[in-house]
């Protein structure tokens, strides 16, 4: 019997991993399909006498995160697509104020109220700043309950280290499904990285006063602060890109997919290989920073690409930008909460390969 494996929903695993990562303050508002996350936090954050608030709205929740993060606490909010749209102004503020925070989007299908079935149509919003202004933040896309826990745990560290929020972009399937998960070790709150820029205990720390803000009405100064942030982005792009490759080396056609689509694509790959088709899978784990260099490299090797998404085609633009005309990039997508099947993806692959 495997030890320490727990059977959990993705939503619960994310919550538990956040607690273990030292999340001291959680603020959420109910929305399907992430409700188990908020409910788990309610119980377990209260049990530990940490801050849990069911905010009056998603707008409030993200701004509570802003305050708690400014006060030095590892803070988190979670929601699903429409709720994440409401958080865009707040996310832009958090980025503008260089605060760490973790934001979870268990995405459903839009636009508008849309449906509550899984979707991947929030890719643009997540990776290109659905909010206003020049900014980016980490976007991590788990493919399994285990990875959902691991990436959430890590998101807090990444975010703290770089003073950039990290978003976990999981679709409703990742949030709702149960799998075995080995949870990471619990972090001691007292040993978490310090935030010298945070407010609070000014006299005790004997430091000059701190001000957390995103405002600067002097254009040249504001530009300088944006450029400084983009220098951090550049470093992150150098060092923190993450992806997973499956049988890519000899592949004629590389499927590019993340999250649930990557799981389906892996199934399609397995079928394809059985049929003797040289299909590989490239799975971006960091959607921002997107693994553009590696894709460009692969494109140089004469492969073709098929982006598979639960959307009308969003990540495929990043694939195209990375490949930059060096290889054909095709797209197969379903939307509205429809999850593509392995057969469909295989058929799309066959069509491209002409076999």
């Amino acid at each position: 019997m495997a030890e320490d494996i727990r059977l959990m929903k993705g939503n619960e695993a994310i919550a538990e991993a956040a607690i273990r990562a030292g999340c001291r303050a959680y603020f959420g508002y109910p929305i399907t399909p992430q409700n188990e996350l908020t409910a788990y936090m309610a119980r377990h954050m209260l049990d530990r006498k940490r801050t849990f608030i069911q905010a009056e709205s998603e707008v409030s929740a993200i701004n509570m995160v802003y305050g708690a993060a400014a006060a030095g606490a590892r803070s988190m909010t979670s929601s699903s697509s429409p709720g994440v749209s409401l958080k865009q102004e707040g996310i832009s503020y958090i980025c503008g104020a260089d605060l760490p925070a973790v934001i979870v989007n268990v995405a459903r299908s839009g636009p508008g109220l849309g449906g509550i079935s899984p979707g991947q149509a929030d890719y643009f919003q997540s990776t290109r700043g659905g909010g206003h202004g020049d900014y980016y933040h980490f976007v991590l896309a788990p493919k399994s309950v285990q990875e959902a826990a691991d990436l959430t745990y890590e998101a807090f560290d990444l975010s703290d280290e770089w003073r950039i929020p990290a978003m976990i972009l999981a679709d409703g399937l990742i949030g709702q499904m149960m799998e075995g998960v080995v949870l990471p070790a619990e972090r001691e709150l007292s040993k978490l990285p310090k935030r010298p820029y945070a407010v609070g205990d000014q006299a005790k720390q004997g430091r000059p006063i701190n001000h957390v803000s995103s405002i600067n009405l002097v254009p040249l100064e504001l530009e300088a602060s944006v450029r400084a942030r983009f220098e951090r982005y550049a470093k992150i792009k150098e060092t923190l890109v993450r992806y997973e490759e499956t049988q890519v080396e000899d592949a004629d056609l590389v499927l590019v997919a993340y999250g649930t689509s990557a799981r389906v694509s892996l199934g399609a790959l397995q079928e394809a290989r059985k049929a003797g088709l040289k299909v590989g899978l490239f799975r971006p784990i960091t959607l921002w920073p997107f693994p553009e260099k590696r894709l460009a490299e692969l494109a140089g090797k004469g492969k073709r690409f098929l982006a598979v998404e639960m959307s009308m085609g969003q990540m495929v633009e990043d694939v195209r930008l990375a490949v930059n005309g060096k290889a054909p990039v095709e797209f197969y997508g379903r939307c509205g909460g429809v999850i593509p099947t392995e057969d469909e993806v295989l058929a799309a692959a066959r069509k491209i390969l002409g076999k």
């Binding site: 495997a2 059977l7 399937l173 709702q176 649930t260 389906v264």
Partner: protein, 177 residues
Amino acid sequence: MTEKTFIAGFGGQGVISLGQLWVYLGMKEGLKVTFFPFYGAEKRGGIARASVIVSTDEIASPLVTKPDSAVVMNMDSLPICEDIVKEGGYLLVNSSLVKVEPKRKDLKVVKVPCNELAEKIGDVKIANMVMMGALAKVTGAIKMDKLEPVLKTFFPESKHKYIPSNLAAVKAGMDAV
């Protein structure tokens, strides 16, 4: 070994817990597992469905669209299950409620009078456990050799009193096929 199962019934028949326990057992036997419920917006009643996979290998898609086995807990669920089971797959039917014959002839149809067997043990609510026994037996995907200790970790202390009847139900299901 990979066993992909699709389970369907109506709300209240224990479809979700059958699926969850199935994968929990699989996990405890060292298998990779996934469980994915269909979640609708209705609160009570309505359809209940789950995709469950247990496997010795890493599991690709958690969505079961061409199941090796399908569990039909009520009448309404027969058409959808019959539609998707793979060529020659298992169709486990709760014959207590499903009175018609499947149309497809290639399937291995296994009839289990779950409700009756459960009622015999004393609780119609454990009809799902009867079905689980049958599913384990016909697919061989899960051994169920350490069922009792595993149930103790699955159920909270307060529900341990139900373990004997659950065990009996599973056994009844295994014996019935």
